[in-house]
């Protein structure tokens, strides 16, 4: 019969239309600005710099003293659209291990160029740069407003725990292991130095 296929199709749409009144599974949308769906654990938008809360080196604001970044510039080199700009500092300060390291005197990310590919996060050996989940970033200044500097990029480790809890816990554990290893090594080094000094002193006498 001509028109049978169309009628069949129409029953399908009718089923869906009336079904949406009864089945909660069909109501997949929420009213966005008021209601929000929580982002997934892995969701990524733009990168930010992690800083640790304890102020190690004294002086300066907390975010500056605690930055994990040591300005090794691997991310700058690997970034496919080249949206990261880093200037290495002249002096050094202590990092999370208590080792003297350079720090970024400037660290800019142009998020109008960034394509959220996460390669900077993957190549960073210091767990210093991570992906944010914040996506409402509209601004009236399209040049300066989207060029984020160090201060705007720095977010605390607590914030990192809030947005990617499982990943942040794993990172913390990894850093703790590194720290104990480094401390043990430092202790051994210190002990040998003392022994050496004693030996030298003994020879002198």
């Amino acid at each position: 019969m001509l028109g049978e296929g169309i009628l069949k199709g129409l029953t399908e749409t009718a089923k869906n239309f009336f079904g949406s009144y009864f089945s909660a599974e069909r109501l997949t949308t929420v009213e966005y600005p008021e209601q929000r769906i929580a982002p997934f654990e892995a969701t990524r938008v733009f990168p930010f710099l992690v800083y640790d809360a304890e102020n190690r080196d004294g002086g300066g604001p907390e975010w500056e003293a605690g930055l994990r970044c040591v300005a090794c510039q691997i991310c700058e080199k690997e970034c496919p659209p080249k949206c990261i700009y880093i200037e290495k500092s002249k002096d050094k300060k202590l990092d999370y291990l208590g080792k003297a390291q350079y720090y970024p005197a400037r660290f800019d990310i142009d998020i109008s160029v960034c394509m959220s590919c996460q390669i900077c996060v993957e190549v960073c050996p210091f767990e210093a740069i991570k992906m944010d989940t914040k996506f409402e970033l509209s601004t009236t200044d399209r040049f300066g407003g989207l060029l984020l500097d160090r201060e705007q990029l720095a977010k605390s480790n607590e914030y990192y725990h809030q947005i990617h809890s499982a990943e942040a816990t794993a990172v913390d554990a990894k850093l703790a292991i590194e720290k104990t290893k480094f401390d043990a090594k430092a202790k051994v080094a210190a002990a040998t130095a003392i022994a050496k000094a004693a030996a030298v002193a003994g020879e002198g006498a």
């Binding site: 892995a42 969701t43 990524r44 690997e78 496919p80 590919c117 390669i119 190549v123």
Partner: protein, 390 residues
């Protein structure tokens, strides 16, 4: 001058000699369809010469979305090109990742662990499913059914994209595969959710088929329209569902058996007529086969690492040589051709995009049809302009 001569003069400068002669007693009308035509899936222009409503010449004009992908890739590291491949065919980024990873793995001789291969197949088949669903949706929309089938298709696509986001962190720009495996492992919870989604997919294909396949309007508009002969399809290098709709049995999953595809049981659906309706039906049948592969892969997936321990993320230099990695992407044969000169960047990087090569037969399919059918035939090719222009 008699009318036939006038018309012949008007047609000078078009790209080929007369195939279809104009008849009737009007003037020829040249229409530039696009680049901002809603049916063109992006920015694509078709210059058509019309005799009344009949198309007698068609000249595709593209390049509006050119982003210099190949040259950029020669200037950055192998890893740096991976996120750019997401942006080629942005409907199915996973398969683009896969083809590129395959090419680099061939170049460097890198092995891929078992679990990573299974994950690639699962994600690749989910991608094929959602690509075919949305491409059918677009095709029906171009026929004038504004929205309903497309929204049905997107409802399922949304579930699949949610799975992608949960695993990779992004809905579309996934940047997931690495040379020698995958970036992150799938949790058991993710696999369970995928099983749940896959279990619902078959019902959706049934629904889609009831909604569309028997529809008289669809049949009247598509059957016998835009016929592509098998010999022409083979000569033009057409691949994918387009080729199989013309009745040529060629599927790289079967021919190459790349990855672990030779472990799965699936059939390759073939068409008879090579018209728009066959292309539509082939996509529908391939969706069913994809569900079969997904069920097998989700049942058999082993535990283990997802990255080969010998794989290097950055700073590797392949030995001088060349490699061509190709896969059966949802749109056809997607290949990456790489030449290494021993440096950290590829010396030459070339993409063989299925969309562009399938588009070369557009004129042959459109000649003699009405202008309204051109939109439909173009839609049945299933292209994404990001891949055509690169």
């Amino acid at each position: 001058m008699i009318l036939a001569e006038t018309k012949a003069k008007e047609l000078e400068g078009w790209n080929r000699q007369a195939v279809i002669e104009p008849k009737g007693d009007g003037e020829l009308l040249e229409v530039a369809m696009g680049p901002h035509h809603p049916s063109t899936h992006g920015v694509f222009r078709m210059d058509v010469a019309l005799d009344g409503e009949r198309v007698i010449r068609l000249k595709p004009v593209f390049g509006y979305l050119h982003r210099n992908h190949e040259k950029i890739a020669e200037g950055i590291s192998y890893l740096g090109s991976m996120p750019y491949t997401d942006r080629l065919d942005y409907i199915c980024p996973i398969t683009n990742n896969w083809a590129y990873a395959l090419a680099v793995e061939k170049l460097t001789g890198q092995e891929v662990p078992e679990r990573a291969e299974y994950l690639r197949v699962i994600l690749g088949e989910l991608t094929r499913y959602q690509n075919h669903a949305s491409s059918i949706g677009f095709l029906i929309q171009e026929m004038g059914a504004s929205g309903t089938p497309l929204m049905y298709a997107f409802r399922e696509r949304e579930k699949i994209l949610d799975l992608f986001e949960e695993l990779t962190g992004a809905r579309m720009m996934v940047n997931y595969m690495r040379f020698g495996g995958c970036r992150v492992d799938a949790s058991p919870g993710w696999l369970d959710r995928t099983r749940k989604v896959v279990a619902g997919l078959a019902a959706f294909v049934d629904e889609f088929e009831r909604l569309l396949a028997g529809n008289e309007i669809l049949m009247a508009r598509t059957q016998g329209v835009g016929v592509l002969r098998p010999d022409l399809a083979v000569n033009a290098g057409v691949t994918g569902p387009m080729l199989r709709a013309s009745g040529v049995n060629y599927d790289i999953r079967k021919v190459d058996g790349y990855g672990i595809y030779n472990r799965f049981k699936f059939r390759v659906p073939l068409g008879d007529h090579g018209d728009v309706y066959d292309r539509f039906m082939i996509r529908l049948l391939e969706m069913r086969e994809s569900i079969g592969i997904l069920e097998q892969a989700l049942k058999e997936i082993p535990v283990g690492p997802v990255m080969s321990p010998t794989a290097k993320l950055r700073g590797f230099r392949p030995k001088p040589g060349e490699a061509y990695g190709r896969i059966e992407a949802p749109k056809g044969e997607l290949g990456f051709y790489l030449i290494s000169d021993g440096g950290p960047n590829p010396y030459r990087y070339r993409v063989r995009p299925p969309s562009l090569i399938n588009l070369t037969v557009l004129e042959d399919m459109c000649l003699g049809h009405d202008i309204a059918d051109v939109v439909l035939i173009f839609g049945s090719v299933d292209i994404v302009l990001g891949e055509v222009d690169r």
